[in-house]
């Protein structure tokens, strides 16, 4: 059913989309890698550097106060976005990867020991695999992996059987970057909590598409990247329950994260500053705040159903192409159309689509275990955002026809 959402109006807010690439109008379908930035975000970063650039939290002068207000104002916007209880539960990071590493370091190292178990799934991004492998290696802990079925859904019975008193942490992607599957996160969290294990959700691919309420979910940690949410690169958020964050040692030492320093003893700062050593990415945080404003002005309730409609349209259109197979066919998906074509390598698909002005990602998507599970070397991946249209999908289909023509 048409949702009446005006994607063209949204599209007009993104200057990068108004261009030709290789002589063709740009069709940007690589939003899973990074999203484009609306003029409002670009303007806000320019405004900050043009009128108020100063360091935060330490100056008595006017610009420092303004910069601090805007930097902390952006934190409040992020707290509201996730419906966290308190601003101090919002830790600025460089992105999802840093958020996961911070939890592995500051929660994992003190709490996980020999023989303990960490549960992840078969459809994690490498950033939600490698930090846990490193931790397990250091501590003699065991990494357990929830298998997935042929549609790209978790085998929840296997997950249930894995949970036991040695389970010390469950770290799962909210939405799979390679397959688009939306995980049953409420159930995952409830089951983990029944065994006393906290849960980290990797929301990198979820936040651009789905409203997230960390208190309703009752998740213990939630991480995402600003640049996939129409914000600047090098920004991100780690949400953690205050009582967990409070008990965790800092990851980096330096300025900002201390209350007092003598050579005998240093007293760490309060949350969230304990985890934000050094001068932060101030412009990035303020730009991310503008991105949150933008997303909320468009509204998840408005673009969510529209994106679902677009995904359904794209799924039908691609499925009708002979020799094409969609990888990730769960009915609970968002934003991602991963596919392979018989006898044509994804990189060749990517190059030929690029010549048509169509940007998709090709490769293993930093999720090699997913590729191994489906016994394929790589996929081509079209990933959607709120500014994509049916015309983009139609262009993709014509592009794929051209790929097949070149190889016939």
């Amino acid at each position: 059913m048409p949702t009446g959402f005006d994607a063209e109006k949204v599209r007009a807010d993104f200057p990068v989309l108004q261009q030709f690439v290789n002589g063709k109008p740009l069709v940007y379908l690589d939003n899973g890698a990074t999203s484009q930035k609306p003029q409002a975000v670009i303007d806000e970063i320019v405004r900050y550097y043009t009128t108020e650039n100063a360091n935060v939290h330490r100056g008595v002068h006017t610009l420092s106060q303004q910069a601090t207000d805007d930097y902390e104002g952006a934190r409040a916007k992020l707290r509201r976005l996730l419906n966290a209880a308190d601003d101090q539960e919002i830790i600025y990071t460089r992105g999802t990867t840093e958020g996961i590493n911070l939890v592995a370091h500051s929660y994992g190292r003190p709490n996980i020991g020999p023989g303990d178990e960490i549960i992840i799934s078969n459809m994690e991004h490498h950033s939600n695999i490698v930090p846990w492998q490193m931790l397990c290696e250091e501590k003699g802990a065991v990494l357990r992996v929830i298998p997935i079925d042929d549609t790209g859904e978790l085998l929840m019975d296997e997950y249930e059987a894995m949970l036991n008193p040695r389970t010390k942490l469950v770290s799962i992607t909210h939405v799979s970057n390679a397959l688009g599957t939306i995980q049953p996160v409420e159930q995952i969290i409830e089951m983990a909590h029944a065994h006393g294990a906290p849960v980290l959700l990797d929301g990198a691919q979820a936040v651009p598409h789905l409203p997230v309420d960390v208190r309703q979910l009752d998740c213990d940690f939630y991480v995402f990247s600003g640049h996939k949410l129409f914000g600047p690169t090098g920004t991100g958020v780690l949400y953690g329950k205050a009582e967990l964050l409070d008990a965790m040692p800092p990851m980096y030492g330096g300025g900002e994260m201390i209350k007092s320093v003598t050579f005998e003893k240093t007293i760490y700062n309060d949350l969230p500053y304990k985890f934000e050593a050094g001068t932060p990415n101030i412009a990035g945080a303020i730009g991310l705040g503008a991105a949150v404003d933008y997303v909320q002005s468009v509204g998840y309730q408005a673009f969510g159903p529209y994106e679902d409609e677009l995904l359904e349209y794209g799924t039908k259109a691609l499925s009708s192409i002979g020799g094409l197979r969609i990888i990730g066919t769960s009915p609970r998906k968002t934003g991602i159309l991963s596919f392979v074509i018989d006898n044509i390598h994804p990189h060749d698909i990517g190059t030929i689509l690029d010549a048509e002005g169509i940007a998709v990602r090709t490769g293993h998507h930093c999720a090699q275990p997913v590729m191994q599970r489906f016994q394929i070397p790589a996929t081509a991946r079209a990933s959607l955002a709120m500014y994509n249209t049916k015309a983009d999908i139609d262009a993709l289909v014509r592009g794929i026809d051209r790929v097949i023509e070149v190889f016939s």
Partner: protein
């Protein structure tokens, strides 16, 4: 950007669909494995040497049309050649795909010249060159063996 037809020429597509010497070599003198971690392409190159002559060369692996065709054409071009000649072909090929300004050494390259369009596609040069670096590794290790003996 040049037309796609400069890249995906008929001869390349033909080598992709029917790669030559796409097999193992029984009792190879040397093998080397190549891997492109960025895209997951993998290749194994097998060499059978008779003195400094490449008696047989073959490859196996997974990759895109460009890497497969490049490997296939590579095996054709070096089979029966001397080590020194194979190294010369490597140098000519490497220069052709990485340096768009230089004039390709057509005499040495032969059919390989059809891959010259790749230098307009910087993201794909690694695809074309993976098999060649793998060959080089096999050849060089053979060289080391010869010197240590």
């Amino acid at each position: 950007m040049p037309g796609l037809s400069d890249l995906y020429q008929e001869i390349l597509l033909e080598h992709n669909s029917k790669p030559r010497n796409f097999r193992r070599v029984e009792n190879p003198s040397r093998t080397a494995e190549g891997y492109n971690p960025l895209c997951g392409d993998q290749i194994t190159v097998y060499l059978k040497m008779s003195g400094d002559i490449i008696d047989d060369v073959a490859f196996q692996g997974v990759g895109c049309a460009i890497s497969r065709a490049s490997a296939s054409m590579m095996t054709q071009s070096i089979k029966g050649k001397k080590l020194s000649e194979a190294n010369q072909i490597f140098d000519a090929f490497h220069l052709m795909v990485t340096d768009p300004i230089s004039e390709p050494d057509y005499d040495t390259l032969g059919d390989l010249e059809t891959l010259s369009g790749i230098n307009e596609y910087p993201t794909r040069i690694k695809c074309a060159i993976l098999a060649w670096h793998t060959l080089r590794s096999a050849l060089n290790d053979q060289g080391k063996k010869v010197t240590t003996e």
